[in-house]
Symmetry: D2
Subunit: 261 residues, 4 copies
């Protein structure tokens, strides 16, 4: 069975900006999904902000192996309940790939616990992405570096936690650097942040970018059954202790009582 990917698109610029609509007539999400579907091991569909529950009801997330997230102008319109639902699925094992301006999305900030801020410049400058972890699954089939003739500059410091792995670092023509590809784990969920993807440039039509996204979906896919009850703190009563145990000392909780939260 192919990996079930859902590409979530904010779908705002595509409807309001002629330049973006011209580059991405199917939407950014549609272009990314089509690129993923070129890999026979992936089956990608889309969801957008404007759909009921932003296209991400519980039943759909339960059938999603990897979620990709592109947002920019409307982060604040994403319902907190959906953000929390997505977070729980990530903790339980769903993969998550956060793209470009998604660094400021509610879901990314929620999972990182940091501001996720950076510096930026929209000058259409050249970016060169260097592979810093050759042999990583996300870099599979890529050359030592590749270039995007036009990208938005994202510059350090990038206020995220120290990653598990730094897979790409970007060089910008104007003089900045950026950790362009970072991996994290949150619970059973694998997370990849990938910096390129400004909406006024044809980044998601680029072959190398598409390869990174295909690789990242395969890397982030956790084939194990989704964990259940990751937010619970179960009591292990004394009579069920794994070693012989006699209760001692004063107690706060009565038998069978739940813990505080």
């Amino acid at each position: 069975m192919p990996i079930r990917a859902v590409v979530w698109g904010e779908n705002v610029h595509e409807q309001t900006n002629e330049t973006v609509a011209g580059i991405y007539p199917r939407g950014i999400h549609g272009t990314i999904a089509a690129a993923l579907n070129q890999d026979s091991s992936i089956s990608a569909k889309t969801a957008t902000l404007q759909q009921p529950e932003h296209g991400l009801p519980e039943a759909r997330l339960a059938e999603t192996d990897v979620l990709l997230w592109w947002g920019h102008a409307a982060h604040g319109e994403v319902a907190d309940a959906v953000v929390e639902r997505v977070a729980e699925h990530v903790w339980s094992g769903m993969g998550l790939i956060v793209l470009h301006s998604g660094h400021f999305s509610k879901i990314f900030k929620r999972l990182m616990g940091t501001p996720c801020s950076l510096t930026w410049r929209e000058a259409g400058e050249r970016e060169r992405l260097w592979v810093t972890t050759p042999g990583h699954k996300i870099a599979d089939g890529l050359p030592a570096y590749f270039e995007l003739e036009h990208e938005e500059m994202y510059g350090e410091p990038f206020h995220v936690p120290e990653p598990l792995e730094t897979v790409f670092i970007g060089w910008f023509q104007g003089g900045e650097v950026f950790r362009a590809g970072l991996t994290y784990r949150r619970g059973a969920g694998k997370i990849f942040y990938f910096q390129p993807g400004h909406e006024t440039y044809p980044t998601y039509h680029d072959h190398n970018i598409q390869r990174v996204l295909q690789n990242a979906v395969k890397w982030a896919h956790n084939p194990a059954a989704r964990l259940s009850n990751v937010t619970d703190a179960p009591n292990r009563p004394t009579h069920e202790a794994l070693e012989t145990l006699e209760e001692r000392g004063p107690k706060l909780h009565k038998p069978g009582e739940g813990g505080f939260r």
Copy 2:
């Protein structure tokens, strides 16, 4: 100048439970602060839930080098605005030490981005804490292991992100293990989670525990000036680029316009 520590105590059990009041007549926070003050390089005071703004107004946090956090029964009563304020100070450089049941505090979950759940048992069993990173500043002066004759069992899995360092692991009489001392960095702020400290046992009167807390305050202290504006994403306009740069390609933003959030 000594390190300015503030010990935040929920101060609920001490007022409502005779056992806890008997062990901690000055409050858990008061006992911890007194222990810290035995180290001349630390000047510790307290703050509690019941005070205005929970004792943590902006002006006070600005003068706090390291905040310690003990809470249990009333996590939900902590105002979100105070949580966010504390988070911003951590990102900017304030140290944070989260104690025991604080694993479920709003501030710890906010900074970790995970459920921070675990298993537990209140049986007064023996815990033995092993130093897994000898020579770490937080383990300074401690033996290879030390014991608490009565502790609440906290068991794995502990749903937190992979730490920077695992400093202690706890062995429990009933058969569980727990990563009892973990370090993190969030922005310029250093964070230490330390598991012992159940309110019905005299844990914070233990000499080794007190030593860990003194060490942790010194480790978490960042003497650099607090960072400013860590949540901002400043634009670096083309005419200020560090290398000669000519704008190219289509643009979304007009000159001088702020970015989306």
Copy 3:
């Protein structure tokens, strides 16, 4: 094509100790290989110390996806040239799983850069292994914990670098804890250390242990082509620079000259 695993066994105790020979008549390596072969996605063979080049000539390593290593009494007899050869294959992408007393093998110490020391006791005590990263590929299909009625105690501190991930922690009846399952990356090679496996107990006949090893082989397998020349430091001459560049300043090296090593 199945994953090509090679189980390297020192094969000394099996020949000299009746107890070990009785438990592992096919050798420890033979038992492990048979267990791996029960998973149709793995094709496992063996190699031993006594074979020419310890059974690990260059041509064989080039066809090995994942190498498992069990050694104890004869670490010092392993030729340094073979150790270096294995290290280069790991850096280039071969997976490596180091078992039990292999913590003191030349190859593990070579790749860790630390003493890899620990404390130990051979008392046939009970060990309980806790999964600390549920949902990790190496823990797939395992319960929250599992027990070995008899294991050698390995205790902290374990002098290894901070791992990428802590997958298992062991609880010992005699009072110790140990980080029993740790992941690392060295170059393109993924490394897993797994503590159980004392030769006088039937550990490798245990179903859960066998599951861990099957999982670990799949986790450590890097399907990408082996990297070439990972130890080279290639010169990128000025006339081949990716951006227009004019040489400036004094030079140490003449054109075309190799770097120092």
Copy 4:
């Protein structure tokens, strides 16, 4: 008492190359030591390859808090016994700062367990170092970035283990990037690798570079007593077990027997 730093210099180019001798008449090591001594909390001296035991006999290392290492042309002339001695001191708590071409030194490769290879170009190009972890002790007092008008290009991939923290990333005029400042821990010893410092440029006369080195010495300093016997694997006999324990099962070792290595 000030931190006792020793700056180890290979001292070859300074004796054989007029350019280098002109920039560093006191030797690279002498210039660095003088810069460190401008900070009153540091007392720095030097050692060189040509001295007996390369200036690093056991007694001297025992009195060294932080060792800095600059080498390039003569890595192979450093005696293996001295390398191993330095490694043991690092594991026991001595700080180590590896500079520039020291990436290929025996001691750095020994402690990393990887090839430590990279790409390079000697073109006198501009490097801009970005602080990626603002608020880190090593970046204290530095601006968001600083420039070196002439540096040797070091490019990714840098074949080192994933660091604890990435403190600096370098941007090069010719189009490359490099993780220029990385932290590690090996045992009780803290390690910092810092990329700038090509011998034909006046890098170590630069004020920002000097500040980084002063900061790094203070960061790497471990004031705790040096650990003893980090390479030992002590037996914990059954009769000394921390919990009541009865020996069971077959044994390989006789009572009191040492373990294999």
